[in-house]
Amino acid sequence: MASDMAQTSFPWLSLAIFTPIVFGMLVLAVGRDSNPGLARVLALIGAIAGLLVTIPLYTGFDASTAQMQFVEKVTWVAQYGVSYHLGIDGISLWFVLLTAFITIIVVLAGWEVITSRVAQYMGAFLILSGFMIGVFAALDGLLFYVFFEATLIPMYIIIGVWGGPNRVYAAFKFFLYTLLGSLLMLVAFVYLWHSAGDTFDILAWHKLPLGHTEQILIFVALLMAFAVKVPMWPVHTWLPDAHVEAPTGGSVVLAAIMLKLGAYGFLRLSLPVVPDAAHSLSGLMITLSLVAVIYIGLVAIVQDDMKKLVAYSSVAHMGFVTLGFFIFNTAGMEGAIVQMVSHGFVSGAMFLCIGVMYDRVHSRRIADYGGVINSMPKFATFFVLFSMANSGLPATSGFVGEFFVIMGSVAYNFWIGLLAAVALILGAAYSLWMAKRVIFGEIVHQHVREMADLSRREFLILGLMAIAVLYMGIYPAPFTDVMHVSVDALLKHVAISKL
């Protein structure tokens, strides 16, 4: 086993990836349907351990350099030019932490709600968590692909086994849609491997000169993979289906982290590997993003299913993210990354709230609620808070990212900035109107009167999410400080033509 790069003293990244995976396999191995308690406890221990091992990544992180940190590099399959190559910079750091954090929330969210095949449920989530951290930490194209693609297996099972009535359709759609994109990405990766002299090293790809036509083709192939995952209009249609049918935990992971895999792909691969194509096609990307922000925002308003509404709002919010990437300035890029993290908290929290109501009434239709504040005052506070955050109210995390992106777009082109700003109104419209119809007003349905307020467990998970949302909204510096240098380096890199 060869290593040709400075190794850090301790493989924290490997630990962050494999702690949840090992615990997940352990849960699968020891979990019995007769003893679900053991699986739950073990899963929680695994999730907490998974978060603890990511803390040194934050405390030991040097924000003054754009270099990859915590690098691990070992030859993996020499014949195919594949290395086990990990490392994080200011862009990926927060996603690793976010994933580990959300995993705890998901385990807690499924604590009492999931009663059948608990061990498999918990095991699938833990393994999924490890794979997703792997995507954010991978610096080898093939390793990236392996983790990216492997996430499909647990998610397919999660939607299909613990999902709603139409779960089979949603699971197939989710899997095949994402596979379509990622197979083209694989061909692009193999092409890059060949062009770069038989190496899958992403950092080597960053420096690889490529012709214009090549770049465009590679960009399109990668776009297929990432656009489906983000998802961008018009390939977003799998997302509402998957969200509606997935169990609460599945929706949370899907919205909070899986969508970020696609957006992260743009940052790590599309922009730096084929910068000229990114510039040539930025018009297209901005258009698609604006369509997502405005058109999907309008679509969200008319939804009568709460999960669908939040799913469409996710598409709209991710439109801000891709918009921020393709205007090529610091405000846009940083805003987009902050928006990704913020969306992880906010949309995750929204799905948790809907889950709380669904567990009591078994309906996701807005019309089945109304006046929830009367029976669930504590819950109503959280729900309104997260709705505000979802609409981008200042002092919540949702504001920071969107504000930066709009600032960046105005600097890029006034009209684009204007259109993006209009979307903020749409965001307020669908979020607050839903909150109004669900939380406020008179109680119309008897079952709403009988709804019990939050249990301690639910209070804990929503409380944690609320702290994250408010902290990030009031004092975003810890989030933005670590990424300045890396974002600047990325923008500088993208500005230089490879032709």
Binding site: V77, Q79, V146, A150, Y156, G160, F175, L176, V187
Partner: protein
């Protein structure tokens, strides 16, 4: 010819197998046991002995030719033989209870025919001349015709055997005709001689190409490549599952070996002629195999079509070896094809093994719906099947992903980006029906509540089989190295 020049020792594995098979044949006459346990054990012992012989040949780098160049021993033949022994041995373990329940062990023919078919495969793998290719092929095929028909009273099996025999005979005819043309043009049956005569082809190019077409048709028939695939779904479905597996695993290795020997050892000079043929066959196989498999309710038939599509991938690996007359990519290309084939054999063993595990005396597991709710009945074996299916789909971290990757790399190196895109798009279609199997196992409730049968050894081997696909999916390097060892230096490139 001097007897001493025969180099008999090189053919020691074949000779040993023949002797031991004859011994087992005699001993089997005196076996009274319903389950033929003694025959079973002796067959497995034979395979272990052979594995040891071939492995030690491989380790000591034995190579050379015997019988005046008609028989070749090289690392390729050792590696392929070892995989064939493993495939046959694992099949016999999986199939014992299945065959007994279906009255196929009233005589010991199943074991003897399987061993004789294996002998044929070994001859094919080691063939250095068109004559040996044909001899080995016929020995193997005749054994299989009989095995498919082993359940005499079973109408579907008999029909499948007839189809197999008639179409197989036709394919043999095509092959012989092709060989005769090559012989006519080159004046020799020996592959090395053919290679010498065809480099810098002159006057006889037309005859050679004509012969080549028949040759490729005959050779790809055994692989089951479109449009020579007609027999495959019927035989897979009609044959008893244990015979399907004997037919679906090891013979693919042998069929690929003769294809490689014939095209690379013999007709390398004509690569520009056979490459486009293989490319067309491969794309057709990927298309028809994947699309038709979607519609199958019978899982054996579905797997037959899936086999067809996977053979398309193998051919893509094989055809990417020569780029505009240069053989720089040949090593990689043939290694990728061999790797793909080995992955395919390993996975096939597991899938059909699982079908046999789910079958009982009065119940034949052959429909996709028979797997319903398997996760409820046995999470372990549902997990094994999950890994098998995702391996066939080519999703990491299973070995199937690396097999696809190897072929894609080889295609890209040969500048065949369009073929690479076509290959992955067809495997997207394939994903649908593999996912459907996972769906019935995990998302549906079980209809059949009977506990799983199967001896401890059966279960253990099947679990190892599944785990191996996962382990090789994370650490594929040793297997890749073995495949590269098989290809390196074995062919005159």
């Amino acid at each position: 010819m001097e007897f001493a020049n025969l180099n008999l020792s090189l053919a020691a594995p074949e000779i040993t197998l023949l002797v031991l098979t004859s011994v087992i044949l005699l001993i089997d006459l005196f076996v009274k046991d319903e389950g033929r346990t003694l025959t079973h054990v002796l067959s497995l012992v034979t395979l272990v002995v052979l594995t040891w012989m071939s492995l030690s040949d491989l380790a000591s780098g034995v190579r050379g030719s015997a019988f005046d160049g008609m028989y070749v021993a090289d690392s390729f033949s050792h590696v392929f033989k070892v995989f064939s022994y493993i495939a046959v041995g694992v099949t016999l373990i999986y199939g014992k209870a299945y065959a007994k329940d279906r009255g196929m062990l009233r005589g010991g023919e199943l074991y003897l025919l399987a061993l004789l078919a294996l002998l044929g495969q070994m001859v094919m793998i080691s063939s250095g001349s068109m004559l040996t290719i044909y001899l080995g092929l016929e020995l193997m095929s005749l054994s299989f015709y009989a095995m498919v028909a082993l359940r005499r009273e079973h109408v579907v099996s008999t029909e499948a055997a007839m189809k197999y025999f008639v179409l197989g005979a036709l394919a043999s005819g095509l092959l012989l005709y092709g060989m005769s043309m090559i012989y006519g043009a080159t004046g020799t049956l020996n592959l090395a001689g053919v290679a010498r005569a065809t480099t810098g082809i002159g006057d006889n190019h037309m005859v050679l190409v004509f012969g080549l077409v028949f040759l490729v048709a005959g050779l790809t028939f055994k692989l089951g490549v479109v449009p020579f695939h007609m027999w495959l779904p019927d035989v897979y479905q009609g044959a008893p599952t244990v015979v399907t597996l004997l037919l679906g695993a090891a013979p693919k290795l042998a069929a690929f070996a003769i294809l490689l020997r014939m095209l690379v050892d013999g007709l390398f000079g004509m690569a520009a002629d056979w490459q486009p043929m293989l490319a067309i066959l491969a794309v057709l196989s990927l298309a028809i195999g994947n699309f038709v498999a979607i519609m199958q309710a019978n899982i054996k038939r579905m797997l037959a079509y899936s086999t067809i599509s996977h053979m398309g991938f193998v051919l893509l690996g094989l055809m990417s070896g020569v780029v505009e007359g240069s053989a720089f990519n040949a090593q990689n290309a043939y290694t990728s094809a061999v790797f793909y084939l080995v992955f395919y054999v390993l996975t096939t063993l597991g899938t059909f093994g699982l079908l046999m595990l789910l079958s009982r005396e009065d119940f034949e597991c052959e429909n996709v719906d028979d797997l319903k709710g398997l996760n409820r009945r046995s999470p372990l074996f549902a997990g094994v099947m999950l890994v098998l299916m995702f391996s066939l789909t080519g999703i990491p971290p299973t070995v199937g992903f690396y097999a696809k990757l190897a072929v894609l790399q080889s295609l890209i190196q040969a500048d065949q980006v369009a073929l690479a895109v076509a290959a992955v798009m067809f495997s997207l279609v394939g994903a649908f029906y593999y996912l459907r199997v996972v769906k019935v196992m995990y998302f549906d409730e079980p209809v059949d509540q009977a506990p799983l049968q199967g001896s401890a050894s059966f279960r253990a081997v099947l679990s190892v089989n599944g785990a191996l696909l996962l382990i090789l999916g994370v650490f594929p390097a040793p297997l890749v190295a073995l495949c590269a060892l098989a290809v390196n230096g074995s062919f005159a490139l």
